[in-house]
């Protein structure tokens, strides 16, 4: 297009030749289309390489954050090994369901910087997935093993099911939602509040105190649930925004 314009500009016009008025170069429909395609590609790149890692890393930051039930101080819980395994299975699921296409993220046609940027986006996705499991699986005790087993069961089944990206995202939303309700509503309501003396807790909340002791439930502040709800929502939003391929196709 640019070459054609140059040849048009440079061609000599004889006085006898009929001339025709044409729009200036940047107003030509083809140029306008080219510009809008470039803007769309730029917006896509910004979304994939700037916003997505920011979303996923925020999830990675918040996923392990708890607020102490006694003084509200920060507690950063590092993920258990099983969370890494679940995150790896989840990534495998994304590729199986076509939510991510390997040839769309890594090809020989891509430049080195794009390959590195793509790799980092996937690493941030993995970190976020790990921390989401860290957020939704109880920290210790019997409940940790029960919920972990449920996650393993579901993910294992998903591995052999036929999925399309939309259905996978819905299923994951449902699974994470159920896990969230279990941990931050059911188990949190069974946990006795912290910062009280043992005797006072026994007298005021005998059932909660017994459940906390029997199930080995950690005492976190109610604010933890709000933070984790935000983290789960942000993770699902990140998954929704994740493109299956980063190759520019015209």
């Amino acid at each position: 297009m640019a070459k054609l314009k140059e040849s048009e500009i440079e061609a000599e016009i004889s006085p006898d030749e009929d001339t025709l008025e044409v729009p200036v170069a940047d107003q030509l429909p083809a140029v306008r289309e080219d510009e809008s395609v470039r803007q769309i590609a730029n917006r896509r790149s910004m979304r994939t390489y700037i916003y997505l890692p920011l979303i996923f890393l925020t999830v990675a930051l918040l996923g392990g954050l708890r607020l102490s039930g006694t003084d509200g101080s920060f507690i950063f819980v590092r993920p258990a090994l099983i969370c890494l395994i679940f995150a790896a299975i989840l990534l495998l699921l994304f590729f199986r369901a076509g939510m991510l296409r390997l040839d769309g993220w890594f090809t020989e046609e891509m430049t080195g910087t794009q390959t590195a940027a793509n790799g980092l986006v996937l690493v941030s996705l993995f970190a976020a997935a790990t921390q989401i499991f860290n957020s939704l699986i109880p920290e210790q005790g019997l409940t940790f093993w029960v919920v972990s087993f449920c996650f393993l069961w579901v993910l294992w089944n998903y591995l052999f099911a036929e999925f399309d990206p939309k259905r996978l995202l819905k299923s994951l939303g449902a699974m994470f939602g159920l896990a969230f309700v279990t941990k931050y509503m059911v188990l949190a309501n069974l946990t006795a509040p912290g910062g009280r003396s043992w005797l006072r807790s026994i007298i005021e909340n005998p059932a909660q105190e017994a459940a906390t002791w029997l199930l080995d439930l950690p005492r976190f502040s109610a604010g933890t649930g709000y933070i984790q709800f935000f983290a789960v929502m942000l993770f699902l939003l990140g998954l929704f925004l994740t493109p299956s391929s980063t190759r520019t196709e015209r």
Partner: protein, 175 residues
């Protein structure tokens, strides 16, 4: 913006933010104030390591003098704290020698030595020997001049011998 620049910006942002997240989980601050303190100490630590890498590492003279003053006043924990701040990378033989000596003097007693402090002193003296095998202090106030002498004295103090039951031991002097 060119697509390549977006890729580079993305890489820089991801690495920077990812580093911050990793730091938070490593440092585990309990509040925002603690985060600031830990971040400052981490930056100082990185800066010190940087000076070691580029070969401009120096002992903090002000803190060393504070440590020396505390050492001479027999305030050994304070002295060690100042010495450790003066030489955070444990690369200066003179500072490390004073640390080892402070363990000896604090742990020494006419009747029975503190084995735990003496053991720490042995480790510190060994560190001096590793840094500079020919180190010799020029401080006239120290009787034991080399790390080998200091280490031998500390090891003798750790052993239980028949001499330990000699009542005349109470008349011995700290070196």
């Amino acid at each position: 913006m060119k697509e390549k620049y977006i890729h580079i910006l993305g890489i820089v942002l991801t690495l920077g933010y990812g580093g911050l997240v990793a730091f938070l989980y490593a440092a585990e601050p309990r509040s925002l104030e603690e985060f600031t303190t830990k971040a400052r100490s981490a930056v100082e630590n990185i800066a010190t390591k940087g000076t070691v890498v580029i070969g401009t590492y120096e002992v903090d003279a002000v803190r060393f003098n504070e440590g020396l003053a505390a050492f001479r006043e027999d305030r050994f924990p304070a002295a060690r704290d100042a010495f450790e701040r003066a030489d955070p990378e444990k690369r200066d033989a003179r500072t490390q020698f004073y640390i080892a000596y402070s363990f000896y003097r604090q742990g020494w007693s006419r009747i029975s030595n503190d084995d735990a402090l003496f053991q720490l002193g042995v480790e510190a003296a060994e560190r001096v020997r590793t840094i500079d095998p020919n180190f010799r202090t020029d401080d006239p106030g120290l009787v034991l001049k080399t790390p080998v002498e200091l280490r031998t004295e500390l090891e003798e103090g750790l052993k239980v011998t028949a001499d330990d039951f000699n009542p005349l031991r109470v008349f011995r002097e700290r070196k």
